[in-house]
């Protein structure tokens, strides 16, 4: 007992820090062939010809492929289920490349160096086409997204979402304060240390094995099947250990090509991107432009909001079509606003495609909402915390868009307890100073989802079984992205089964041996999968006690599992002995499978408080104090929860102050295409961080738990921007707050 709530080390921690974990590219394999890609230097061009003569003449080159020699099936790399309706506008190698970094050709060779050298020898002619490099330009490129033959037209908007709730006109007519704020958010890159990589090889029965660091083996299977036009069951996908993802590896980008090459050549094929390629040819967070009008009553009630958002999703649809809706969903779950109008649209540009990134739309929409609300509070003379307390949703609130119950929503507790712990009242009143360095405090609230409900595939199946040695195996399509979800799930199982973590073995996802799961996304691991594991553990507990009842000649209800033993007041048997006893009688070892189908999607809430010091001469911002209050339901492992919060703050701090891949509006190239040019917050940029966990159980979560992984990064940027604006009296709303922008704002 007592595993839940404990600060237990990662179950794979020692293996990781001692270098024993074998990442996808680590194992030496005889006969391994290496692929390297040729990328488009143009933002939009027709690929007219490819001369591979010189490349093919190189010793060690196995072959060269391009659009004329590869399948041209349309696919969408963001699907996670076969048949999912998302615009299938990607090709492995398109005849018309749509962004700098789009794929033109691939070389397969005996070594990576040969493959890369041969790529340099490919001679390609292009017909360069006009490119759209800004969302403004994209708006003019309007029309239907598909033509009569269901072919993508690349016209805008790709997707829309709208909400008209309550009487917005009346709300603004009644308001005592109206404010309007325009916020832009940048494109940011995931910066996982492991660059994108995939391995594939032929297996028996005309199948292809794919081994890659992914967020869903079933998504890989579905996407590759769509791209290659083959049956999904010909693909056997396993998840390798992953050196960071943050959403960047949610979409299988390399897997279709790698599988195709393995199929064509019968070789074990590896395709690994360089750092530069990972920056320029994978995915980023989408850039957004948003405008929010807020109508406030004299008592601080938000009477209405009117919101317009444009999302630049880049050159391919991917999951970008979901973003306007996702942003709306997250926006309306934070405050109780009687009248809302929302118009969101996603547009194509000839830039790197965007995709999943921690929070999936939440950081963008909450940056807009929370910066806008802060400026409204300032204009109307309200304290930012008091204003939010006046409006934040409470437990069991129903959201106006999907009509979902938000569960045990504890945003108000985060506001109250966070403000107290941070000393908000006193600190918010301090003058920023008049010298070179100005201090200010700021805060922001946020909410995020727990899983994909009401999506119809929001369920998962977990199996727990007793092994011959007395250990327990957890089988479920699990994708720990390094956040420690395997550890958290093992803790849940161990808690129910009276075991220690060391007794639970977690198997990584494998399409051949696991039942379907939609993967590590949407903050669903603890809340959804954790509940499936808890239910399976309860069922296994029952099965083990039933079996032990025979061995011990006791009634099952008198038995409990404790410390790897089944025991009653008078007798006990260890799990290992029980397994032996059962095996000797030719009896199956206890095993339990449970499917958990989500019935709710409660909100996780967070309120972050920051103090910054701004150098008014250089425009540099230093975060000097930080407090993060989180409505977590129950922290299964407080240490891992804090780790998620610390990491979320690092990403959010970069989002607020430094990070932007910055598409050059003239050439379509990324300016931030390496760690030298893309500024991340390093250790000296981090401030001391305090975390405050509000643990009020969510009835639908395992042991009351809710998600923390994504929300941890959501309120960070607006909290910091609000702090900078408080310190300087500015209205900075374009992220990131680069020194140039700060200096310009001070001069105006």
């Amino acid at each position: 007992m007592g595993q839940v709530g404990k600060r237990l080390a990662l179950i794979d921690g020692v293996e990781k820090v001692t270098g024993q974990v074998r990442f996808a590219a680590d194992d030496a394999v005889a006969g391994l062939a290496h692929a390297a890609l040729l990328f488009s230097p143009h933002p939009h061009a027709r690929v007219l010809s490819l001369d591979a003569g010189k490349a093919l003449a190189m010793a060690g080159v196995i072959g060269v492929w391009w659009h004329q020699t590869t399948p041209q099936n349309g696919y969408n790399s963001a699907i996670w289920l076969a048949g999912q309706q998302l615009l299938a506008d990607e090709r492995m190698f398109p005849a018309v490349v749509r962004h700098v970094g789009d794929r033109v050709a691939v070389v397969l060779a005996d070594t990576e160096a040969t493959a890369r050298a041969a790529v340099g020898l490919l001679e390609v002619t292009y017909d360069v086409l006009p490119a759209i490099l800004s969302p403004e330009g994209a708006q003019a490129h309007a029309g239907p997204t598909v033509d009569a033959d269901r072919q993508p037209t690349y016209l805008n908007p790709v997707a829309k979402a709208a909400l008209d709730h309550g009487d917005v006109a009346a709300a603004f007519a009644l308001a005592s304060h109206i404010s309007e704020t325009h916020v832009t958010t940048p494109r940011s890159h995931h910066c996982a240390i492991e660059t994108h990589v995939c391995r594939a090889w032929p297996e028996a029965n005309d199948r292809i094995a794919i081994h890659s660091p992914c967020q869903s083996v079933f998504a890989v299977q579905a996407v590759v099947a769509q791209a290659l036009g083959i049956a999904a069951d010909r693909l056997h996908v396993t998840k390798s250990p992953i050196g960071g993802s943050f959403g960047g590896k949610a979409e299988p980008i390399l897997d279709p090509i790698c599988a195709f090459l393995a199929m064509q050549t019968g070789r074990v094929v590896q395709l690994q991107l360089s750092r530069h390629e990972t920056f320029t040819a994978t995915r980023t967070r989408s850039a957004t432009e948003g405008r929010m009008r807020i109508a406030l009553a004299t008592d601080g009630r938000i009477l209405g909001r009117d919101v317009e958002v444009t999302v630049d999703i880049g050159a391919y649809c991917t999951g970008g079509a979901y973003l306007p809706g996702s942003m709306l969903q997250r926006m309306v779950r934070l405050y109780d606003v009687p009248a809302e109008r929302y118009r969101g649209r996603a547009v194509y540009t000839n830039t790197l495609p965007t995709g999943a990134f921690r929070g999936y739309g939440s950081p963008q929409i909450h940056a807009l909402g929370e910066i806008a609300l802060d400026l409204a509070a300032r204009d109307a003379g309200f304290d930012p915390v008091a204003l939010r307390l006046r409006n934040i949703v409470g437990p069991a609130a129903i959201d106006p868009w999907q009509g979902l119950n938000l569960g045990n929503a504890r945003g108000a507790d985060c506001l109250r307890r966070g403000a107290k712990a941070f000393g908000w009242e006193t600190r918010a009143r301090l003058a920023p100073g008049t010298g070179r360095f100005r201090r200010g405090v700021g805060m922001a609230a946020a909410t995020h989802i727990n899983g994909c409900f009401p999506g119809d595939d929001e369920s998962t199946t977990a199996t727990l079984g007793l092994q011959a040695d007395g250990g327990i195996v957890l089988n479920c399509a699990l994708h720990d992205l390094g956040c420690g979800s395997d550890t958290t799930l093992a803790q849940i199982a161990a808690e129910v089964l009276g075991l220690g973590l060391q007794n639970i073995r977690v198997t990584p996802a494998d399409t051949d041996t696991c039942t379907y799961d939609l993967g590590t996304r949407a903050s669903r691991m603890t809340y959804i999968v954790g509940e499936a594991v808890r239910k399976a553990a309860l069922a296994l507990d029952q099965a083990i006690r039933d079996a032990a009842a025979l061995a011990l000649n006791a009634a099952p209800q008198d038995l409990t599992l404790q410390q790897a033993c089944v025991q009653s007041a008078r007798t006990r048997i260890s799990l290992a002995d029980l397994a032996t006893w059962l095996a000797a009688r030719n009896t199956a070892l206890p095993i339990a499978t449970q499917t958990h189908r989500a019935t709710a999607n409660p909100g996780s809430f967070a309120v972050h408080f920051a103090e910054v010091e701004v150098d008014t001469l250089t425009g540099r911002v230093q975060v000097t104090d930080y407090l993060a209050a989180h409505d977590i339901g129950r922290a299964i492992n407080p240490m891992l929860v804090e780790g998620q919060i610390h990491g979320g703050i690092q990403i959010g701090l970069g989002y607020a102050l430094y990070e932007d891949v910055a598409v050059d509006p003239g050439t379509g190239r990324l300016r931030g295409d390496s760690f030298a040019r893309y500024t991340l917050a390093n250790a000296p940029e981090m401030s001391p961080i305090r975390t405050l966990l509000v643990e009020k159980a969510e009835p639908t979560g395992p042991f009351g738990a809710k998600a923390v992984g994504e929300i941890a990064t959501v309120p960070v940027a607006p909290a910091l921007v609000n702090a900078v604006n408080a310190a300087l009296g500015t209205r900075l709303t374009d992220l990131p707050l680069l020194p140039e922008r700060i200096i310009l704002a001070l001069q105006n």
Partner: protein, 287 residues
């Protein structure tokens, strides 16, 4: 397939023999510029690793001139007590290069030969009137001033000399990059002067990252010369720094920011030179 051969001479004689050989010679020291992923290595000739040559290592501050071996690392410069006493600006610059790992490998001559606009060691070296001794492509000895050094000329630097008359213990270096540490300078400044009774005598200032090569800021330095440091004087100094930026990069995208940022960096520079905090009351009235 690869025609690049690597050699690691351990004596000057061996080195000279390699230089006189027929193969084209490429030099490598710490490799922190040469081996960065985005750069192409030469594909033929001899790659000569200079890190095993004792003659190219070490710092001698015992004579009137300071002599520093070309392959001395940033970390060795950063930790050298004698150098810190005689010419702190260079020690401070080395301490602010890269990260611990980079400083353990990066060398003085690598920084000079790489000749980046943002190189941090070059401003204090130029300020000190540094001379560089070395070998020509044919292996002959030569010595020129750093001012006259042309990157890509093929000269192998063996020693960097700071002539006694060129520098002063009252010296300082400051830099400003996108983040606090492990950051490439968007601006850096080095100053040397004699500090006497709140006055800087014969101050000289060099700025990096304002032009393709580091440049002296003569006008800004002249504002300070022999004047008592008051808020008014400092303000005039900062105005002069902004004017220097205007002269150097007017019209560039970074202009507006740099002309303001250099005021902050200018205060930091004077503060460091005077061993004061940049929050000292002296600077209060300057804003």
């Amino acid at each position: 397939m690869t025609l690049l051969n690597v050699c690691r001479p351990t004596s000057l004689a061996e080195l000279v023999a390699v230089l006189r050989g027929a193969d084209p010679v490429h030099l490598i020291a710490g490799g922190t510029d040469l081996l960065v992923g985005s750069r192409a290595l030469p594909d033929a000739g001899r790659l000569v690793d200079l890190t095993a040559l004792p003659a190219l290592r070490g710092i001698d501050t015992t004579g009137p001139d300071i002599r520093i071996g070309a392959a001395t690392t940033d970390a060795e410069i950063e930790r050298h007590a004698g150098l810190a006493l005689r010419y702190p600006a260079l020690v401070q610059a080395a301490a602010e290069c890269g990260s611990v790992q980079i400083r353990n490998r990066a060398t003085l001559a690598g920084n000079i030969a790489n000749a980046a606009a943002a190189a941090d060691l070059i401003p204090p070296l130029l300020l000190a009137g540094a001379r560089i001794a070395g070998l020509t492509q044919g292996g002959a000895e030569c010595e020129i001033s750093l001012q006259d050094y042309q990157a890509g000329s093929g000269m192998l630097i063996t020693t960097v000399i700071l002539p006694a008359e060129g520098f002063d213990p009252d010296s300082a270096f400051v830099k400003l990059g996108p983040r606090r540490d492990l950051t490439i300078a968007r601006l850096n400044l080095a100053v040397t002067a004699q500090v006497q009774d709140w006055r800087l005598l014969e101050p000289r200032i060099v700025a990096g990252a304002l032009a393709p090569r580091a440049i002296p800021l003569l006008r800004a330095a002249s504002v300070l010369d022999a004047q008592t440091l008051t808020a008014d004087l400092l303000r005039a100094f900062l105005d002069a720094l902004s004017a220097e930026v205007d002269a150097a990069i007017a019209g560039r995208a970074s202009h507006g920011w740099k002309r303001q940022a250099i005021r902050g960096l200018g205060i930091d520079l004077i503060a460091r030179l005077l061993k004061l905090s940049n929050r000292d009351p002296l600077f209060d009235g300057v804003m």
